[in-house]
């Protein structure tokens, strides 16, 4: 695992891999955090076009930051948003996954919803899903990101604000515009 502390600021060279000792209470807190949210962080990276191994690396770096900053992790409902904000910065800084935006969006368009044919999903619904993904891939990256956070991570405006580091009002405005843009794109298809 490479130095992950870049997501939280500079760290002393060589210190990134050395486990940091925490108190018993802090360690219990981290274990609960890890058990409850590891899958969500992996899924967050997978939804943004990362392979499973790359997503697991991003989760590892995210939780390394959480380990080092466990005292700063907010209580629910902002816990997940805080972790995803770290994961977002890890992904932005990760040179190994420095893939051009259009390539990522092309992969996004190729993703298929996890439709279970044994459920009530219909062929028409699946077609609609793909139409939505195709339309999403044509939007600006910032609009894609906020729509994904709202629809896929199902975060509230205030949680999205934590992830993106902006105000709740800004989220409301940006999300409204993004929804209009998605709808407009759908109308064109």
């Amino acid at each position: 695992m490479a130095c992950a502390a870049h997501a939280a600021g500079p760290c002393p060279a060589g210190a990134a891999r050395r486990p940091l000792s925490l108190s018993g209470e802090a360690e219990r807190q981290f274990r609960q955090l890890f058990d409850a949210h590891y899958r969500l962080v992996v899924a967050y990276a997978r939804r943004r076009g990362r392979t499973l191994p790359a997503a697991e690396d991003i989760a590892a770096e995210t939780f390394l930051v959480a380990w080092r900053r466990v005292g700063e992790v907010p209580p629910p409902p902002d816990t997940v948003a805080w972790l995803l904000g770290v994961a977002r910065r890890v992904m932005a800084n990760d040179r190994r996954t420095d893939i051009r935006r259009d390539k990522l969006l092309a992969r996004l368009a190729q993703l298929r919803p996890t439709t279970d044919p044994s459920t009530a999903h219909t062929v028409a619904a699946t077609r609609h899903h793909q139409v939505v993904l195709d339309a999403l891939a044509l939007l600006p990256a910032a609009q894609v990101e906020i729509l994904q956070l709202a629809a896929w991570e199902q975060l509230t405006h205030s949680q999205i604000a934590v992830v993106l580091g902006c105000s709740t009002n800004a989220v409301a405005i940006r999300l409204h515009r993004a929804r209009l843009a998605l709808n407009a794109q759908l109308m064109k298809t």
Binding site: E27, R39, R47, W67, L133
Partner: protein, 56 residues
């Protein structure tokens, strides 16, 4: 494609079109990768946090 009455419907289809179901991923207690990650970060074995009663 012109049967999208309003943006709420588009968001609902987007939600349903989620390409990743995180519930399908292994929980840390069932994932060797997750446990190795935990151990590398903390320097302690993942299973040390298990309920002692479960280990008997």
């Amino acid at each position: 494609m012109n049967d999208w009455p309003d943006d709420n419907d588009a968001m609902e289809f987007l939600r349903r079109a989620d390409p990743v179901d995180h519930q399908r991923f292994a929980l840390p207690q069932d994932s060797a990768v997750a446990q190795a990650t935990f151990e590398e970060i903390t320097g302690t074995p993942y299973n040390t946090g298990a309920d002692p009663g479960l280990l008997l």
